[in-house]
Symmetry: C2
Subunit: 330 residues, 2 copies
């Protein structure tokens, strides 16, 4: 057994998914794959933060419904988000009478949730877990960068935080896509200090986890139908492919990035989508559907996270990053 | 098997602990139990945030040393703290070449870490995990409440955030204190909106988890040598004992609270200590020592967390809380 990869002998199943997203995501070509489209950034609430929480709550409620089970069947909610003190997850958890395990690894939270949930189910501790995450452009922008009202110009390397949420039910049995293994990532920091250049900051962490996974499992990129990264964006995706190539792995033909898929990339969104909701929405809709239909049979799903805070940036720190990967089979 | 309690058949061991704390903690009667005392709030760094991170890093490094193992033996670091984006944990993780699982449940993070780590070890996925958390009075105060420079008067129900960190190595074998079960808590919110009254906010969540644990495991308070809560403080401790009594359980004679133990309670610290570092420091020093010497044989350790953020408070929200419990045997 490799150092960083853990294997699930009972192969926990992803028995249902639910995704919800905002106006910009709904209007893109990808919009048609998303379960619930909302055309009001506030989702009927008086603040963006409450809207973010409501989206997450909505996704959790509906993923339970779509699995045809009741709340009482769920043993835990494993959830996190980008807001300070992960309030979206915590306040969403308040709506449900379910044990709550709060996690945070920035935009890699969704695959971290997969790995933790799969361990708890595979180990026989729990039967059904909901794992969920989300993000909101307006809350992330004002928390991490500038108030929207300032109208700051976005640099060309910037990504656009996805307004959306995704949830999955992970269960111990059934004829559904399976979680085969998980590779927890280490924190990697190449000294990037630009909070607008997340793709470049995250690429080395993504490369590190992928290289571990290939080595641990004795596989190569061509053994997979798809290697799906979370939100590296166009620039970060180019970088990770180059970095992985330097380690002897060519994944040019099997790689896709949720951040590159979710928008019709045009000037405003520059490098594509980002945020904890980005990978949750893309995986939970289009990709999960392809796994269920067996159009994809074996994939790596790896969300990547930039672990910065405005305080650490102001104190001159660079951006440490992490990426957690899971291997899924149809 | 009860709904909220999971059982560890291989009983993961806590093979070592390390604690570090600041000037106020060092000067209290409890100080003599703490492994490393520091008399400089900044720990040689130029900001309090960097000092908090350095304490956590120091605890992680030394808990590995005191277990007589090397970093390479550690399969994962499960860690979180109170700062936005849990930067202390993430930046501490950067110092170690170890897979990093970031978690956040405010001051209940330490027992959440126990429960997740024990699951990963008991399930056979990992052999040795470090779980660690910390907090700092100065960083918490300015993040959650007011800048210290304002010199705000503290209300009598206030607690004092512990400047300190604690770390444990959880392993699959050895003659050490064992983790027998874990009870993940639900989010409970009784509508408290005062960010200075954490004890009252957290008591109902603490009661809920304890009642689940007693019911799930068919035990009563007198079956334990100690029921140790994390940081309810003097007021919160009184409340939880009353709430638990209403449910038919009398724990007056077996309850203690880390927040009540860590300071010589006097006017300035009012209700006692709080913060993710509070339970980590008290458990990792005095309590762990008593378990090792078998002066305590069976205890419940339950850290409690208030999941508020300044943003949620400003937006008129009350304080949702959570408490995760583990049962430990000597």
């Amino acid at each position: 057994m490799g150092k960083h990869t853990i294997y699930f002998s009972n192969k926990p199943r992803i028995i249902s998914t639910f995704t919800i997203a905002g106006p910009k995501e709904s209007e893109s070509n990808f919009g048609k794959h998303i379960h619930k489209l909302i055309y009001d950034d506030r989702f009927g609430e008086d603040t963006f933060e409450k809207a973010e929480c409501k989206m997450l709550s909505y996704a959790i409620e509906n993923v339970i419904k779509s699995a045809n089970i009741s709340r009482d069947d769920i043993d835990a909610l494993v959830s996190g988000d980008l807001l300070n003190q992960i309030i979206s997850a915590s306040f969403a958890a308040r709506d449900f009478d379910i044990p709550y395990i709060g996690i945070y690894n920035a935009c890699s939270t969704f695959s971290e949730g997969f790995a933790i949930s799969a361990s708890l189910v595979d180990g026989g501790y729990m039967k059904k877990i909901v794992t969920a995450t989300g993000s909101h452009f307006a809350t992330a922008e004002r928390q991490y960068r500038y108030p929207l009202e300032l109208g700051c110009t976005r640099p060309p390397q910037a990504q656009w935080t996805v307004t959306g949420a995704g949830a999955c039910v992970i269960a111990d049995s059934g004829d559904y896509p399976k979680i085969v293994s998980a590779t927890f990532g280490k924190v990697v920091d190449f000294g990037i200090t630009d909070a607008n250049n997340m793709g470049a900051a995250m690429a080395p962490a993504a490369c590190d986890t992928l290289a571990c996974l290939f080595k641990d499992t004795n596989t190569k990129p061509s053994d997979y139908d798809l290697i799906l990264t979370g939100d590296l964006g166009a620039l970060g995706s180019r970088l990770v492919k180059e970095l992985v190539k330097e380690k002897g792995y060519d994944m040019d033909n099997v790689h896709a990035d949720c951040g590159e898929m979710i928008y019709n990339i045009e000037e405003e969104k520059y490098q594509g989508g980002s945020g904890a909701g980005c990978s949750a929405v893309v995986f939970g809709s289009y990709i999960y559907d392809k796994l269920k239909k067996k159009e994809l049979n074996k994939i790596i799903f790896m969300a990547t996270g930039a672990l910065l805070s405005p305080v650490s940036t102001q104190q001159g720190e660079s951006i440490p990053c992490v990426a957690h990967a899971v291997v899924l089979e149809s």
